[in-house]
C-alpha cells in the first residue's frame, strides 16, 4: 500500500523534530521548577542565616547583693522606689575594680541590659527572703554586646565606626574567659511584649493579638460562610439574583485587602465606635476578608457530595433541612474545614488592612482580651524591620520564622484533614 508507506515516511521525517520539541518542553519545565526551588532556597537560607541567632541571647553573670540598706531602708521593703540599677552597677564595679573614671564607668554600665534592675525587682517581689543575700544572677547583655558576641559587629573596624568600644570589648572578653558570659536560649523573645531594647523585645504580645483576632474571625466567618454556602447551594432558586450574588462573592475574594481595612475604619471604628487597635476590630475586618474564601470552598465541598445521597434521603421521606444537616453537611465538612483553615492562614499573614485600624502601634503590654490594644505578628515584623537598632534585624527574621512556622502548621492541618476525612466517590 503506497499511501500508508508514504504516511510512515512522513512520520519518520518529522519524528526527530517532535522528539526535540518534547525534550525542549521538558527541559524548560525543569528549568522553571529549578528556578522556583532556588528562589525559595535562597529565601529560606537567608532567613535562617539571619534569624537563627536571635533565638539565643548573650547573658552576663553578676554577683549582686540584695542590699537591705537599699531595698528596705527603714526595715520595711520599699520595692517601688529602690535603686536596683545602682545595685547592678555596684556589682559591675566590683567585677572590674580597676575602672575608676566617670566616663569609663558609664561605658562599663552599658554592657548589661537596662532591664537588669527590673529583673532584680521582680525577683525580690516573688521571694522577699532574698533580702540581704548575695546572689549570682544571669542578666541579659546589652544588644551591642550581644551583636559583638554573635559576630555581627566587625571588631577590626576603627573604634569610631562601631557601636562597641575597645574597652567594652576587653571587658566582655575577660568575662567570657572567666565563664561569666554565655549565650542562653532567648526566652524573652517568647515571653515579652514589644520593647525598644532589642534584648527585651518579644513576640508574645503580637502572638496573643493574632490569636484573639483569629478567634473572632473563625467564630464569625465560619458559621456565616457555611450558612451562606448551604443556602446558595441547596436552597436558593437559580435566577438572575443568585447569579449576581455568586459573581459578587467571587469578585470579593479578589478585592485588595487594604480596602477591607478602609471599610473597617469607616464602619466598625467611626460608626459602631469600637476602639482602635482592638483585636475585635481586626477580627471583624479579617472575617470580612476570609468570608468569600470560606463560602467558595464550602460551596465546592457541597457540590462534591453526590446527588444520589440527597435523592435517597428525600426518597425515604427526609425534609430538605434533614437532608442538608444529616447527610450533606457531614460529608462536606472536611472540605469546609480545609477552606476555613486556608482562609485563616491568609488572615494570619495579613498586615495591610490592620494599618488602617490602628494596629500598627507600639504596644508593650501583652493583650488580655478582645478590646485591649494589640498588634499582630506580621505588623510586629513590619515595625521591627523599620527600627534603627541593629539587633532588630535578626529579631525580624526570627519573627518571620515563627510566622512561617504557624502558617506551615495550619496548612499541614488542612492537608491532614483533607487526607484523613475526605470521602471519594
Amino acid at each position: 500500500m503506497p499511501s500508508s508507506l508514504e504516511t510512515r515516511k512522513r512520520v519518520e521525517a518529522g519524528l526527530a523534530r517532535r522528539h526535540r520539541r518534547e525534550r525542549l518542553f521538558k527541559f524548560s519545565g525543569m528549568l522553571a521548577t529549578t528556578v522556583g526551588v532556588v528562589f525559595l532556597g535562597v529565601f529560606f537560607f537567608d532567613l535562617f542565616a539571619k534569624g537563627s541567632s536571635a533565638f539565643v541571647q548573650t547573658h552576663l553573670r553578676l554577683e549582686v547583693e540584695f542590699s537591705a540598706d537599699v531595698i528596705a531602708p527603714g526595715g520595711e521593703l520599699d520595692i517601688a522606689y529602690a535603686d536596683f540599677d545602682g545595685l547592678v552597677r555596684s556589682a559591675l564595679r566590683a567585677e572590674f575594680p580597676e575602672v575608676t573614671g566617670r566616663g569609663d564607668r558609664r561605658e562599663l554600665y552599658r554592657i548589661v541590659s537596662s532591664s537588669a534592675g527590673y529583673q532584680m525587682q521582680d525577683m525580690i517581689e516573688l521571694d522577699p527572703e532574698l533580702l540581704g543575700t548575695r546572689q549570682s544572677i544571669w542578666f541579659p547583655a546589652a544588644s551591642t554586646v550581644d551583636m559583638y558576641i554573635k559576630g555581627n559587629i566587625d571588631a577590626t573596624l576603627d573604634e569610631s565606626l562601631r557601636p562597641i568600644s575597645d574597652q567594652q570589648i576587653a571587658w566582655v572578653e575577660s568575662l567570657r574567659e572567666s565563664g561569666f558570659l554565655e549565650t542562653h536560649f532567648n526566652r524573652a523573645l517568647f515571653s515579652n511584649g514589644d520593647s525598644r531594647d532589642p534584648e527585651l523585645a518579644g513576640i508574645k504580645g503580637a502572638l496573643m493579638g493574632s490569636f484573639y483576632m483569629l478567634i473572632v474571625t473563625v467564630v464569625l466567618a465560619f458559621p456565616i460562610g457555611v450558612a451562606a454556602a448551604i443556602y446558595l447551594e441547596e436552597f436558593a432558586p437559580r435566577n438572575r439574583w443568585s447569579d449576581l450574588i455568586e459573581v459578587n462573592i467571587n469578585n470579593l475574594a479578589a478585592v485588595p485587602s487594604i480596602v477591607f481595612g478602609l471599610l473597617g475604619l469607616a464602619v466598625f471604628i467611626n460608626w459602631v465606635g469600637i476602639p482602635r487597635s482592638a483585636p475585635l476590630v481586626g477580627g471583624l475586618v479579617l472575617s470580612l476578608l476570609t468570608l468569600p474564601v470560606i463560602i467558595i470552598a464550602s460551596r465546592a465541598a457541597i457540590k462534591a457530595v453526590p446527588p444520589s445521597i440527597r435523592e435517597a434521603a428525600l426518597g425515604l421521606g427526609a425534609s430538605r433541612m434533614q437532608v442538608v444537616f444529616h447527610h450533606v453537611m457531614p460529608l462536606a465538612l472536611p472540605g469546609m474545614l480545609t477552606g476555613t483553615i486556608i482562609g485563616m492562614s491568609r488572615a494570619l499573614g495579613e498586615s495591610a488592612p490592620l494599618l488602617m485600624i490602628g494596629m500598627v502601634a507600639f504596644i508593650v503590654d501583652v493583650p488580655g482580651g478582645f478590646s485591649d490594644p494589640a498588634t499582630a505578628l506580621p505588623v510586629q515584623i513590619y515595625l521591627w524591620a523599620d527600627s534603627p537598632e541593629r539587633a532588630f534585624a535578626e529579631r525580624t527574621s526570627a519573627a518571620i520564622i515563627v510566622l512561617l512556622g504557624f502558617l506551615l502548621l495550619m496548612n499541614l492541618a488542612a492537608v491532614i484533614i483533607r487526607k484523613r476525612m475526605e470521602k471519594k466517590w
Binding site: S114, V219, F362, D386, P388
Partner: protein
C-alpha cells in the same frame, strides 16, 4: 441531640456580646495613654513610653505611628477617651490645624518641643567624601533649574555631580529618598532644597512677588530617575547604599548614628552631620521635633501628667539622657528649662507664639 450549629451560633453571640460589653467599659474610662503621630518622633516616644510603663504603676502608653499630618488630624477630631491624648510631630502645628482643633472643641493644646533631628545625605562608608552646599543639592535634585538668563527656567539638565559643580566628582546623580507622605521629605525639601534655592538671587526675590511660583520652583523634586523614592523603610536605604557606592540616601540622623560603620554623612555647607554640629545649629539641614498634648485630658487619663513630666525630665531628654543615646539631639539647657516649666504649668499654645 446537641446541635453543633446552635453551639457555634451561641458562641458567636457570646463573643460579640462580651466584646461590646468590655468595649463600652474601656471607652468609658481608658486607663492607658494613647499617642499618635510622626514616624520620626516614634522611636523617642516609644522609649519614653516603655520606661514610663516599667517605672510607674501606670500602664504602658500605646504609640501609633501615623505621620505628623495624620496624627494631628486624629488629635484634632475631638476631646474624649476615643481620641488621642498626645500627637507627635516633626514640624510645628499649622494655624489651619489649630483652627480645626478649636472647631472640634480641642481648644487648649500644650506644645512641647523635645529636641532636634538632623537630616543627612549619606553614602557608603567605602565611597568618596562629599562636600555639598545646599545650592548643589537644589541644583542636583530640582525639577527645573535656572537657565542662562534671570527668570528663565529649564528642565534639570544635570546628569552628574560634576555638571552641578565642577569641584564635585564625575559621578551620576542617584539619590534615594523618602516619598512625599513622609515628614522627613517635607523637612528635607524645606530646609535643604529651599535653602539652596534661596541662594539664587532672582528666585529669592520671587518669594515676595509670587510666593506660589517660588514654592513650586524650590519644592519640586525631579522625576527623571535621578531621585528615587525608596519608601519609608530607612534600613532598606542603608542596605541599598552599601550595595551601590555611587548612590546617596536621605534619612534622619538616628539611622546614621546606628549604622555608622556602613554609611557616612556628606558635609553640607562645610559642616559634617555630627551630634554636636546639629545641637549647635551649625549643620543646616536640621529641624525641631515636637509633641502636642490635650490639656483637657490631663487628670482624666491616668498618668498623662506624669508622662509629660517623664518626657521633659533631664534623665530622658537631657544631654546625657536616654533619648540622646537613641539619637535625639537635645536642646540647650536653658531652652529645656523653659519648655519643662511651661509643660509643668500646662501653658496652652497661643497662635501669637507661633
Amino acid at each position: 441531640m446537641t446541635n453543633p450549629r446552635t453551639v457555634l451560633v451561641l458562641l458567636a453571640c457570646a463573643v460579640l456580646a462580651s466584646g461590646f460589653a468590655t468595649d463600652a467599659e474601656a471607652q468609658a474610662n481608658r486607663d492607658y495613654i494613647y499617642i499618635v503621630g510622626s514616624s520620626t518622633v516614634y522611636p523617642f516616644s516609644t522609649v519614653v513610653a516603655e520606661r514610663f510603663g516599667r517605672g510607674t504603676e501606670f500602664k504602658t502608653p500605646k504609640v501609633e505611628s501615623t505621620g505628623s499630618g495624620g496624627g494631628l488630624k486624629l488629635f484634632c477630631d475631638g476631646v474624649g477617651v476615643d481620641h488621642p491624648d498626645i500627637t507627635n510631630a516633626s514640624r510645628a502645628i499649622k494655624s489651619s490645624e489649630v483652627e480645626r482643633c478649636a472647631g472640634n472643641g480641642v481648644t487648649e493644646i500644650v506644645e512641647v518641643k523635645i529636641g532636634y533631628d538632623g537630616i543627612v545625605i549619606a553614602n557608603a562608608i567605602s565611597a568618596i567624601e562629599m562636600e555639598l552646599t545646599r545650592k548643589d543639592i537644589f541644583l542636583a535634585l530640582a525639577k527645573e533649574v535656572p537657565g542662562g538668563a534671570d527668570g528663565e527656567l529649564i528642565e534639570n539638565p544635570y546628569n552628574t555631580w560634576k555638571d552641578v559643580n565642577p569641584e564635585l566628582p564625575d559621578v551620576r546623580i542617584e539619590m534615594l529618598g523618602p516619598p512625599p507622605t513622609s515628614g522627613t521629605r517635607d523637612a528635607f525639601v524645606e530646609l535643604a532644597m529651599e535653602g539652596g534655592c534661596k541662594a539664587i538671587p532672582w528666585i529669592s526675590a520671587l518669594k515676595k512677588s509670587d510666593s506660589s511660583a517660588y514654592k513650586s520652583i524650590c519644592h519640586t523634586i525631579r522625576e527623571d530617575g535621578a531621585f528615587v523614592e525608596a519608601g519609608e523603610n530607612d534600613n532598606l536605604i542603608v542596605q541599598k547604599l552599601e550595595a551601590n557606592p555611587n548612590a546617596f540616601g536621605i534619612f534622619g540622623f538616628s539611622f546614621l548614628d546606628q549604622n555608622s560603620e556602613k554609611v557616612k554623612g556628606a558635609m553640607v555647607d562645610g559642616h559634617k552631620p555630627t551630634f554636636d554640629a546639629i545641637a549647635d545649629g551649625d549643620y543646616p539641614v536640621s529641624r525641631s521635633l515636637f509633641f502636642y498634648a490635650k490639656k483637657a485630658h490631663v487628670d482624666v487619663i491616668p498618668g498623662l501628667r506624669e508622662f509629660l513630666r517623664e518626657f521633659t525630665s533631664e534623665r530622658a531628654w537631657g544631654d546625657e539622657g536616654y533619648l540622646a543615646e537613641r539619637g535625639l539631639i537635645p536642646m540647650p539647657a536653658e531652652e529645656r528649662g523653659a519648655v519643662s516649666a511651661s509643660v509643668r504649668n500646662l501653658e496652652p499654645l497661643t497662635m501669637a507664639s507661633q
